[in-house]
Symmetry: C2
Subunit: 138 residues, 2 copies
Amino acid sequence: MSDLLERLRGRGWRLTAQRRVVAEVLDGDHVHYTADEVHARAADLLPEISRATVYNTLGELVSLGEIMEVSTDGRAKRYDPNAHHAHQHLVCSQCGTIRDVHPSGDLLAELPPEERFGFQVAAVEVTYRGLCPNCAAG
Amino acid sequence: MSDLLERLRGRGWRLTAQRRVVAEVLDGDHVHYTADEVHARAADLLPEISRATVYNTLGELVSLGEIMEVSTDGRAKRYDPNAHHAHQHLVCSQCGTIRDVHPSGDLLAELPPEERFGFQVAAVEVTYRGLCPNCAAG
DNA sequence: TCCTACATTGGACTTTGTCTAAGTCAAGAA
DNA sequence: TTCTTGACTTAGACAAAGTCCAATGTAGGA
């Protein structure tokens, strides 16, 4: 993740303590925190960090393409640091657990031209839903 | 959509004026209103209808499987009356326009067993994103 | 070291949605 | 037809998630 900080510095980012702790919280490939969770964890490292800064920083990281915004439940958005490897999400309909998954095939290609209505289709987001082993057993 | 009202009555629904106008607003296959939009349009027909009733009615219609809840932008949920025909969505990343689309192939089958992590996968939601002809031209 | 443009802060505000207590009414019973 | 009753609706308070702003602080170049 220090790679990340270097990349961002290269793009003219000021390296503040706040941005560092947000980046640190998002370190790890299989993490899908809400903004509030990021804030809580960041505050463990830097107690005076404000919610507004966390939102700002997350927004900047998203528009720089360093993290992905995921909304799997229509409530709080979640942030996925695994933005450099294309992947989709598998969500437990009961407990909400999220896993990164890699479908086979080219999902974009499955939208035939006559179903594109003149759109320049650029991306596809897929969410699989089902019961995780834990909830299925319960 | 009067079919809908009959079906619901058959399931023990009380047929109130409020439920009738909500159903009427949702009539049409290619409509994707937010709850607030549904409320505004319903209020044109029945001025004293309350927000709570619209939310209640939409929630009931969703759990009866008569309409679909769609969240394409992490903000307000939208309601899609076209719930009886499997389909996915194509969203303009600029203006937010939504179209129903029908991808080819079996999208569920594209998640290989080794990528299911023991989940009982039941459904898949797909959102294609791109520029609509209007925004691409502008 | 100093400057200053950029970053952060806290709190007010907005949007979207939920909950509740009190009043209303659809539809079956008589 | 009128009565009855439990389901439905209402207004407004409340909650969660996110945005905005003016005042203050500071990273990093000169």
